[in-house]
Structures are given as structure tokens and as C-alpha cells.
């Protein structure tokens, strides 16, 4: 679970994930916040790419869902938190999915493990048959 205790939400936007165009929309939304908040180029690319991966996962493997994009603050720094929710088949073996690695077999696994390395906080909750929730947070680097 991501520690939400001392974090306050500064803004929130819920976007639909139903088509390929939506992958672009969610990505654009995250990127615009990152640029507005003056994240550097590398951090912006990291959060934007992770968002793209996870949005596509929700679309392709989760049958679609929503992305909740929020600006958060822990009193000292500003961050972007994105939550991807789908009501798809869920992930049976989370450990394996997260291990991903260099395998070209399951594109979802690659997207998950890859995204995890791009962000500061990563949480994955999935119940087979019910759906999946992936939450990521990227803080603005000093």
C-alpha cells in the first residue's frame, strides 16, 4: 500500500480508458501536469511512459477502465499520482507479472515491471475475476 497518510491531493481528474485514443489522452494529461510543475525532461519522460504502459495494460488486458490523475503534495514536495482501475480478469500470479524482465512473451508483464522502475511508488492490487488497480506516484525530483 502506498503511504497516503501525510499526502494531500491538490487536484484530481478522472479519465476514461476505452480506446487507443484514451491512451494518448491520459498520457497527455500526465505530461501536461509534469511540465506545469516543472519536472525535468527525464522525470517527465519517466512518468509519461509509465502512464502509457499502464493505460495500455488496462485497455488491452483489463478490457478498459479509468485513470485517476492527481497532483499530490506531502508538504515538502509535489508529485503526480495516477491510479489505473480496470474490471478485467485480474492477474493470477502477481509476483511473476512484476518480475517481467527481458522476456518478450507477456507484454503486460514487461509493461508492469518496466513501469515500476520508472516511478517512486508503485502499488498493485488485483483479484482474479474482479479487476486490477495499479497506483503509481512520481515525486518531483529536487
Amino acid at each position: 500500500m502506498i503511504a497516503v497518510a501525510a499526502t494531500s491531493t491538490l487536484s484530481t481528474a478522472t479519465l476514461r480508458i476505452a480506446s487507443e485514443d484514451d491512451v494518448v489522452n491520459v498520457r497527455r494529461k500526465v505530461k501536461s501536469i509534469a511540465q506545469e510543475r516543472k519536472f525535468d525532461g527525464f522525470a517527465t519522460a519517466a512518468i509519461t511512459t509509465a502512464t502509457s504502459e499502464l493505460t495500455r495494460n488496462a485497455l488491452v488486458h483489463g478490457g478498459g477502465g479509468i485513470a485517476i490523475v492527481e497532483e499530490v503534495s506531502d508538504g515538502m514536495r509535489v508529485g503526480i499520482r495516477v491510479q489505473f482501475r480496470d474490471e478485467g480478469p485480474g492477474i493470477a500470479d502477481i509476483e511473476r507479472a512484476l518480475r517481467g524482465g527481458y522476456s518478450t512473451a507477456r507484454s503486460m508483464g514487461l509493461g508492469l515491471s518496466g513501469s515500476r522502475r520508472l516511478v517512486d511508488e508503485f502499488a498493485l492490487d488485483s483479484v482474479p475475476g474482479k479487476g486490477t488497480v495499479v497506483t503509481i506516484v512520481k515525486w518531483k525530483p529536487f
Binding site: 527525464f42 508538504g75 515538502m76
Partner: protein, 306 residues
């Protein structure tokens, strides 16, 4: 830092101000009550401000912030405005901006939170005494309660100012460290050199990769030499970072030459099984420079003897 920057960092907009106001339970009644007390406040402003600074000037640790007459005069003037601001009858974005200006000024001169907060307590004491002297107890009580809410609201802003300033300083230090720890040098057209010195943790490793990539792209350098003779410990993690950096540089279309590989490091890397076969590696920096030059179609040649 300017008060505007604080507003930005603390994301102080109308919604945030309203939320704070609600949490500190500052009602319209409170503000009206304080506004009604303005004449009284004006009457006592001078000696309250005097009393406020008497405390600060009495203690050696705080006195040093107000060494010369000009500073004392200016600061007292600011405090008068500040004090009267409590009786303006509003608690909105403009009010907050004003408060931050004062907070920023105090933070800038380096007055620590403990002094700042202790001084606020003095304020409350001075006002409390005069309220009870000038008004019937019930009224004084209500007035003081209203005042307390607003002063606490201000105190929260003051604390936020310090936190935000610290975060900003930390940021600047990090940026400076990043600059100093990745001195990429252009040794020749299309050839860069990065002499790494000191320990490399994950955080620094990432900064290194980023700096390297930016410079390679900027200079359109075909080759970068990374010398690790000055890195004390080269373990799996460090080796892995170097491999990743090389891979990233390759994606840009350039090559990496690793030099400064000591006997010890060579043993460690092979024993650990790290695959650096994709990298050019050499023991001596000088050899690395020669290799780099040859990769860009140049060579070092002795001059013809006269």
C-alpha cells in the same frame, strides 16, 4: 525565496485557503469581531510592537538579527502593518499573500522557527493583557478567542514557509552536487571524457546517466570515455549502472569506452559474472583517449623532427 514562490510551492489558492480557514474555525463572526477592534488595535499598536521586539532584543540569540538601527526600524514598521492586518476583517488569498511576505522576510534573515513561534506567543500575551484591560471580560474573552484562531492560522503559514524554504535549499544543493559530480569534458571533436570520482549510489548513477546522455546529444559526440579509476568500490550494482549507461549511450548512437579498470576491479567484475562484453574497456585513460580518437577517425602522431 519570494512570497510568490511560496504560494506556488504550498499550492495556496482560494480552495486551499478556504480549507485552512475552515479547519482553524475562523468564522465570519470572528473576522467581524476583529475588524470592530481595529480602533483599539491602532491605539495600542506601538507599544505592542515595542513589547514584541523587547523580547527579541532581550535575548542574545535573537538580538543578533536586529543589529543595526535601520533594520530594527524597518522590521518594526513591518510588524505594525502585520499586527494591524489581524484586524482587517478578512482571511482570504490576499491576506495569506501578505502574511507570506512577512514570513519570507523572516526566513530570509535566518530567524529559526523557535524564535518566530516564541515571538508569536508574546504577541498573544501582549494582546491578551490589553484586551482584558480595555474590555469587559466576556467581550475580551470572545475577542481573544477570535484573535487566537487567526494567529494560529498565521503560525501554520509561518511553519510552512520554513518547510518550503528547506525543501528549496535541498533542491539547490542537489542540483549543485549533480553539476559537480559529473564533470563531462570535451577532449576533442566528438569525444567526451567523464572522470568519475567517489562512490556511486543509485541516485548518483542515475544523475550520471542523465548528464552523460544530455552531453552526448548536445555535442553529438560519437564517443565518451568514462574513467572509473577514482571510484573506490566497483560492485555488481556499480557495474550494472555502468552497463546501463553504456546501453543508453548506444541507443543515442554513440559508443562508450570504460577506462581506469584496475586489476582488482577486473577480477571483481569477472567473478561477479557481470557481462560487459558489449563495452570497450581498458586499464589506462591514455589508451582510452587513443581508442576514442581512432573511433572518430583521428590519431595522435609524433611531430616530424626538424
Amino acid at each position: 525565496m519570494s512570497h510568490r514562490k511560496y504560494m506556488q510551492i504550498l499550492k495556496l489558492d482560494d480552495a486551499e485557503v478556504r480549507s485552512r480557514r475552515a479547519f482553524f474555525e475562523i468564522s465570519d463572526e470572528d473576522l467581524a469581531r476583529l475588524a470592530a477592534l481595529r480602533p483599539l488595535a491602532e491605539k495600542h499598536t506601538d507599544d505592542i510592537v515595542e513589547g514584541f521586539y523587547e523580547l527579541l532584543l532581550r535575548h542574545p540569540e535573537t538580538r543578533k538579527f536586529f543589529e543595526d538601527e535601520a533594520t530594527i526600524r524597518r522590521v518594526k514598521r513591518t510588524q505594525r502593518e502585520y499586527f494591524l492586518g489581524l484586524f482587517a476583517g478578512k482571511c482570504d488569498l490576499a491576506y495569506v499573500e501578505d502574511r507570506l511576505r512577512v514570513g519570507a522576510a523572516h526566513e530570509r534573515i535566518g530567524l529559526a522557527p523557535k524564535w518566530y513561534l516564541g515571538a508569536y506567543r508574546r504577541y498573544l500575551q501582549l494582546v491578551h493583557d490589553r484586551l482584558y484591560r480595555e474590555l469587559p471580560p466576556a467581550e475580551a474573552g470572545a475577542a481573544f478567542a477570535s484573535m487566537q484562531r487567526l494567529v494560529m492560522f498565521d503560525t501554520a503559514l509561518a511553519i510552512d514557509t520554513y518547510i518550503a524554504a528547506n525543501a528549496e535549499t535541498l533542491g539547490r544543493h542537489q542540483a549543485a552536487i549533480r553539476e559537480l559530480s559529473t564533470p563531462v569534458i570535451r577532449v576533442h571533436d566528438g569525444v567526451l571524457l567523464l572522470p568519475l570520482v567517489g562512490a556511486i549510489d543509485s541516485h548518483r548513477a542515475q544523475q550520471i546517466t542523465e548528464s552523460v546522455l544530455l552531453r552526448v546529444a548536445e555535442e553529438q559526440a560519437k564517443c565518451i570515455i568514462i574513467d572509473i579509476a577514482g571510484v573506490p568500490v566497483v560492485d555488481t550494482k556499480v557495474a550494472d549502472h555502468l552497463v546501463k549507461t553504456t546501453a543508453a549511450v548506444k541507443l543515442l548512437g554513440a559508443q562508450t569506452i570504460l577506462t581506469g579498470i584496475s586489476a582488482q576491479v577486473a577480477r571483481t567484475i569477472v567473478q561477479l559474472g557481470v557481462d560487459i562484453s558489449a563495452m570497450h574497456t581498458l586499464a589506462r585513460l591514455a589508451d582510452g583517449i587513443e581508442l576514442a580518437l581512432s573511433l572518430v577517425g583521428k590519431s595522435i602522431r609524433a611531430k616530424e623532427p626538424r
